[in-house]
Amino acid sequence: MSTQTLEAANDSQINSVEMEETVARIRSHKGVEAVIIMDRRGAVIQSTLSEDQSTAHASALSELTGKASNVVGMLNQNEEDGDDELTFLRLRSKQREVMISPEKGFILVVIQNLSLVES
């Protein structure tokens, strides 16, 4: 059992390193202001922002995501094979783009400042 757990730990270790690298890569892109990972209820799991900011963002965005998936569910009711699901949410403002990727159990959010990209 111990070897199994060790292996499992090892596996996730490698995975987590890769994950960290990917997050770092995303952050290194032009204009990326924040990368937030939270659960479906809006509790921050990982964030590149300060604690206050990320909790504020997380609560607002999780609510928005919940509503969006409700909308998708409503649309779904009219159809017969009802297994449609919200997969992505892009929110474009004059300055920013908020990209929300709702997955099972968590929400990944990236906020990119496009005015920085333009310049």
Partner: protein
């Protein structure tokens, strides 16, 4: 009690004897009579009288006599007559102590000189008797106060204590009256007062002890770290949940309990989910998509160009085209390596693999294969590291995740890029056979062999063309063709080659005739071979003067193929004719050529001066439509067209891959239906073009 001699006493002039002095000094001890005697000078005549009784005891003894004073005159005492004796000499007795010195000088710090210090008030006082006690003198002021206080106090207590104080009364004076008696009742004095104390037995000490058997000792040691704690909590939780379930049938649990158990279970699940979720596949997927999105936002202008930009200059200048540089794919891992091969994925037309290695014999190191996607231009989707430099790559047409790589050390490895691991699923070994020189080209066999194993071909500069069979356990190598020097007889004056085989550089298989393939060699010859005859060439073209870097059949016309060489030329051949149909001199060594996938008459070539040349034979049979410098300092080594979009990628020897968009003039399709010009038409068009050169191609 202090005696203060203050009276002046008349003394006789000559009475200076020590006896008198003694009397004065100690008046109490002296007999009163002697004092009176000494005071009066008339006592002097009695001296002889006194001498008589002293003589008397010696005469008639023992007579009862008191103490006798004998007066001994000093010898130098003046003899005074009676008259002189009777003369009164007055003396004053003062209270001053003659023993106290009167001539004491003390240093005065105030006046800074010595000053006589006369005896002060207390200096002359001599204390003869003092006693401390509780008795009060009856005449004293204090006593009166005391008595007054007592008189006012209760009389009855005084009566009760009368007996006790009767004895005390004797010490006080009789004439003090009844009030004085009452007052003295409560005076404690030191004579009849005593404290009393009683000693009793101390409690004797006793000690009692009982021996019991010692409690059993066991030693227990355990290491605790986070996962052990986690495991134990987990197991405990499981046990408790099991118990809950077990009890659920027999015992009716309250609603709250059930709720609590459900919540506990859910929380537990949520916790494990969360820890797994952070490293789950969906997380990786979400991150991948997010990375692509962010990249597309960041490089929005390039993506817009890629999709929509058409060079307006093309309409003004027919017969000329331009290339629009789009992304540049590079990576810190590959910056010091050369791009040796490019290969688009046959199924996912945004995905391409880049092989990195080195053409330089002296600068060989490890190799890398990077798979980039146009959806994320900043970072490779997959990266595979190899021990030796990668020289060539090929994706399998039916299994788009299977990638074969030929290496500089002669090994051939098959990777499954979808696993993302560095380890090949098949790799050649010395036991199963490998090339002894760099592998210059690999190519999957279309379809499968009779026993449903996948095959691939490779060519190496060791003079072999080999077929590899992917069996269950390993990759088996079988030589298909040995590239013999067939022109030794012709020019035997030249130096004979070291090996008996010609070094192969490139090959390509004919699409329509399965067994037919052409091979380009390092010497510059191009041989037409067949899989069926491994010993000899079907035909040898007198191709180039230097190494043939690439041969490629036309994708629409099965007889036509293209070759390029380091001798600066690109040639177009018909496999039926030993002479080339067309040749183009590009002024620099040509690294690679590639037919376009959308037009039978368009091909691209890259040269070492960093230029990309695009030819369209239907528009211009002699000149390229476009010769554009893509890189300034690097040499271009490879080129490849995308099958779907009008872009091509070119690799250089600095590890960079440049993507270029073809302007409208470079991709003219001579058909009403632009998107699907069918093969027959394409073939017809190429033949039409070529017929103008060679009469054999008359339609």
């Amino acid at each position: 009690m202090v005696l203060r001699p203050s009276k002046s006493v008349p003394t006789t002039k000559g009475n200076r004897n020590p006896v008198v002095k003694e009397d004065l000094a100690k008046p109490r001890r002296s007999h009163p009579s002697s004092a009176t005697k000494s005071r009066k000078p008339s006592n002097a005549p009695k001296v002889p009288r006194k001498k008589k009784p002293k003589e008397r005891p010696s005469d008639d003894q023992p007579a009862f006599q008191g103490p006798v004073k004998r007066i001994i005159k000093p010898e130098n005492q003046l003899e005074l007559s009676d008259k002189e004796l009777d003369e009164d000499v007055s003396r004053i007795l003062t209270g001053d102590d003659p023993n106290v010195p009167k001539n004491v000088c003390k240093y005065s710090y105030k006046d800074k000189c010595y000053k006589p210090d006369p005896p002060g008030q207390g200096d002359n006082m001599a204390t003869h008797f003092s006693i401390l006690g509780t008795t009060l003198h009856i005449d004293s002021e204090e006593c009166k106060k005391y008595q007054d206080n007592e008189a006012t106090s209760d009389e009855t207590t005084a009566v009760n204590d009368t007996k006790v104080t009767l004895e005390c009364q004797t010490s006080t004076s009789r004439d003090s009256g009844s009030a004085a008696v009452g007052a003295s009742l409560h005076i404690k004095n030191q004579f009849n007062y005593s404290e009393r104390a009683t000693q009793t037995f101390n409690n004797p000490l006793r000690s009692r002890g009982v021996h019991t058997t010692p409690p059993p000792i066991t030693q227990f040691s355990e290491q605790a770290n986070q996962w052990i704690i986690y495991d134990s909590y987990k197991s405990e939780c499981l046990i408790s949940m099991m118990e809950l379930k077990h009890d659920g049938g027999s015992r009716s649990t309250s609603f709250e309990d059930k709720l609590a158990s459900i919540v506990a279970g859910k929380d537990d699940e949520a916790a494990t989910e969360r820890s797994d979720m952070m490293h789950s596949e969906s997380m990786a997927n979400a991150l991948k998509i997010m990375g692509r999105l962010v990249n597309q936002n960041a490089e929005d202008d390039i993506f817009t160009d890629f999709k929509y930009y058409e060079d307006p200059a093309d309409s003004a200048k027919p017969g000329h085209g331009t290339l629009l540089p789009l992304w540049r794919f590079s990576n810190s891992r590959t910056s010091r390596k050369q791009v040796t091969s490019l290969c688009w994925n046959p199924r996912y037309d945004d995905l391409f693999a880049v092989g990195y290695g080195s053409y330089d014999f002296t600068r060989q190191s490890t190799g890398v294969v990077c798979c980039y996607s146009l959806k994320n231009t900043s970072y490779p989707e997959y990266a595979i590291r190899t021990e030796s430099g990668v020289m060539c790559l090929d994706f399998h047409a039916d299994h788009p995740s299977l990638l074969v790589a030929g290496c500089y050390d002669g090994n051939v490895s098959v990777y499954d890029i979808s696993t993302g691991s560095n380890k090949p699923i098949y790799s050649s070994s010395i036991r199963s056979g490998k090339h002894s020189d760099p592998v210059w080209q690999v190519r999957w066999c279309a379809g499968r062999s009779s026993n449903k194993e996948m095959n691939l071909y490779s060519i190496s500069s060791d003079g072999k063309v080999a077929i590899w069979t992917m069996s269950k356990n390993d990759l088996k190598m079988e030589p298909v063709m040995l590239l013999k020097h067939n022109n030794l007889s012709k020019d035997d004056f030249g130096e004979p080659p070291l090996t008996g085989l010609a070094a192969g550089c490139s090959f390509d298989f004919n699409a329509s005739l399965e067994s037919l393939f052409v091979v380009g060699t390092e010497e510059g010859n191009i041989h037409e071979c067949s899989k069926a005859y491994s010993g000899q060439y079907i035909k040898t073209y007198d191709g180039h003067h230097m190494a043939v870097n690439k041969v490629q059949w036309n994708p629409f016309h099965a007889d036509i193929f293209l070759s390029c060489s380091a001798d600066w030329t690109v040639k177009i051949w018909d496999h039926k004719s030993p002479q080339c149909l067309l040749h183009f001199d590009l002024g620099n060594a040509v690294g690679d050529v590639c037919w376009s996938p959308y037009s039978s008459t368009v091909f691209a070539a890259v040269t070492t001066d960093g230029k990309v040349h695009i030819f369209d034979l239907s528009q211009n049979k002699r000149e390229p439509l476009c010769s554009q410098k893509v890189v300034t300092k690097a040499r271009l080594t490879n080129v490849s067209f995308n099958s779907n979009d009008y872009i091509l990628i070119a690799g250089d020897d600095r590890g960079q891959v440049h993507s270029l968009k073809l302007s409208p003039n470079l991709r003219q399709l001579h058909s009403a239906n632009e998107n699907s010009e069918d093969e027959a038409l394409q073939k017809k068009r190429l033949m039409k073009v070529l017929s103008t050169i060679n009469k054999n191609y008359a339609t």
